[in-house]
């Protein structure tokens, strides 16, 4: 009795702290914790908004693994995801090393600012710019091709180009952001390391290769994990840049969930796929976490 009173007293003492935290907790319960459980429940239902939702056991999951569309989305997610993860981890690293060699501070800052800019734009803007750049009439890429006497190509209507375009445009948008992460790490490297290497007679290339690059590996690890998380959540870019012609090559899992669940209203089925993606994310993150730790 005494202890209970004590607890109440303690809670009362910090009631204002709880009050400050209350909106956050309410939000997380309604829009993060509850949906996790609700999504799991719905995935076992033939869900409907009006009337009663029937429990159907594993029917939704069975249907998912038997549908070619699901496996197609799965394959596309892996291909696009792998391309995105690798390119947007390593190319910005090279970029950061090159930027770091610029000796004029203003020029360095200017280039960095320009390269970062696309990261600010929404996928609608980035997608819109590139759909226009790649368009057969007035698109910059085809105008350049025409200058060399080559015919225009309708890039956005060719399955062969679809995946490289998606990966390339993603790189264009994210490179500057990732580059800043690397530059920040480089800025934090102890300058004495370079001085010591210089006294030992190490040339500029050796100094970069034996000091800067190893220091960047911890950042690379963070970047790889961020990219992997992002790759499995890919939706916005596809929603903007897909069309029916290239859909077989670019429809990813999250788009499939959206299309099945909220366009065709197969809510239970879409929920089941969400659960599968969640499990997949968990597995892939765990594996890559171990793998990345092991190699680095």
């Amino acid at each position: 009795m005494r202890t209970r009173k004590n607890i109440l007293k303690q809670i009362f003492k910090v009631r204002l702290l709880y009050l400050l935290m209350l909106p956050t907790l309410v939000y997380f319960f309604i829009f993060a914790y509850f949906p996790i459980f609700d999504g799991f429940r719905i995935s076992f239902q033939d869900f409907r908004f009006v009337g009663e939702s029937r429990f159907v056991g594993f029917d939704n999951y069975r249907e998912a693994v038997q549908t070619p569309g699901f496996w197609r989305a799965f394959r596309n997610t892996l291909i696009l995801g792998f391309g995105n993860v690798m390119l947007t981890a390593f190319i910005p690293m090279v970029l950061a090393l090159l930027l770091n060699e610029l000796r004029i501070a203003a020029w360095k800052r200017f280039t960095q600012t320009i390269i970062y800019m696309p990261h600010l734009f929404s996928w609608v803007i980035v997608g819109g710019i590139w759909i226009f750049m790649l368009s057969p009439n007035a698109g910059i890429i085809n105008v350049i091709r025409n200058l060399f006497g080559l015919d225009s190509i309708y890039f956005m209507a060719k399955e062969t180009y679809a995946q490289p375009i998606m990966i390339g445009v993603n790189l264009w948008k994210q490179a500057g952001f990732v580059c800043i992460l690397y530059l920040a790490t480089i800025a934090g490297i102890n300058p004495e390391l370079y001085q010591a290497a210089m006294i030992d007679g190490a040339g500029a290339f050796k100094r970069v290769f034996y000091i800067t690059v190893p220091e960047l590996l911890s950042t690379l690890r963070v970047v790889l994990l961020l990219n992997i998380m992002g790759a499995l959540r890919m939706f916005n870019q596809i929603w903007v840049m897909r069309n029916e012609v290239i859909a077989p090559k670019v429809d990813v899992l999250m788009y499939y969930v959206y299309e099945r669940g909220l366009v065709q209203f197969k809510i239970g089925y879409a929920a089941a796929i969400s659960v599968l993606i969640f499990v997949l994310t968990f597995i892939i993150t765990a594996i890559s976490n171990r793998f990345i730790k092991y190699t680095a």
Binding site: I11, M21, T24, I42, T113, G128, I180, G203
Partner: protein, 285 residues
């Protein structure tokens, strides 16, 4: 020695060439978009790399305001961005403040409850969230857009970081003077964490301004549409999407310019907060 300096010079030249051409892949498309937006309908289809309009015209912007009626979605976007950002900043600051208090009953649980949602990406729970939003009667309201993401673990931890940098002696003397918890939060901590507030304000502004997924999910009537939704129907290639909307290239590019301007303005004025925020974020994660 001579050999290395020539090598070095060669490297500097090559390096600059690489970086300049990279920067050009960013700059040329943007200048191109800007130039095309100011052309006449006819000129906007010309097969040349347009870096400035031959005969400057506002035809595209006229179509944007009259035919597309871009003003309504623009104002909707301003509404959700301003209100959403304000609520986000104040609520995350409140939560961040709680996390720097010394051990109190239940603190450990609060820390866990606040941290776990970082591992639950919104994209993966869209189906149940959709159901929840519908049940709460928020479907097809601008408030649904404001509420989604109104707090985030990332911002809370960022504010906690900033609050931790404020010397404790300040609040101790305030406690002596009999100031309460709320006074200390509003009068001491908030004003001293201005840099932190600025950082999450800017990040949230950009994030809210660019929101896509919540609007795709929750907004169904045309008068509720936010900017990105309308922009998408404008910029995607019409032949392929099969929409009947027929606008010239100049209006399409005008739409992009329209959506970019607030971002560029914010970026140019607050660049230092961006870089600071990115770095703190990366260290945290």
């Amino acid at each position: 020695m001579i050999r290395t300096t020539t090598l070095r010079k060669l490297f500097v030249v090559v390096n600059n060439l690489i970086l300049i051409s990279l920067a050009l892949t960013m700059v040329v498309p943007l200048v191109n978009v800007l130039a095309v937006s100011f052309t006449t309908d006819l000129e906007s289809y010309e097969n040349v790399i347009k870096l400035f309009p031959r005969e400057p015209s506002l035809e595209g912007y006229k179509a944007l305001f009259q035919q597309i009626a871009i003003l309504r979605p623009f104002l909707n976007n301003v509404f959700v961005t301003v209100i959403g950002t304000f609520l986000h900043v104040i609520l995350c600051a409140m939560a961040g403040y709680v996390l720097i208090r010394e051990k109190f009953l239940g603190k450990a649980i609060l820390v866990i409850l606040v941290t776990i949602p970082m591992m639950i990406p919104f994209e993966m729970i869209i189906i149940p969230v959709y159901v929840t939003v519908k049940r709460l009667g928020l479907m097809d309201t601008l408030w649904s857009i404001i509420i989604i993401g109104v707090v985030s673990t990332f911002s809370i931890l960022l504010m906690k970081n900033y609050f931790e940098g404020i010397p404790r002696s300040l609040e101790e003397s305030a406690f002596m003077d009999g100031a309460g918890e709320l006074t200390i939060f509003f009068r001491i901590y908030l004003p001293l964490a201005k840099a932190g507030l600025a950082t999450i304000t800017i990040f949230q502004f950009v994030y809210k301004w660019n929101h896509i997924l919540p609007a795709v999910l929750f907004l169904h009537s045309v008068e509720k549409y936010t900017l990105q939704i309308v922009l998408k129907s404008l910029v995607v290639s019409q032949e392929l999407s099969g929409t009947t909307l027929s606008v010239a290239n100049n209006a399409r590019m005008g739409g992009i310019v329209f959506a970019i301007i607030p971002l560029i303005v914010v970026y140019l004025f607050a660049q230092k907060y961006f870089i600071k925020g990115i770095m703190i974020g990366a260290v945290k994660e």
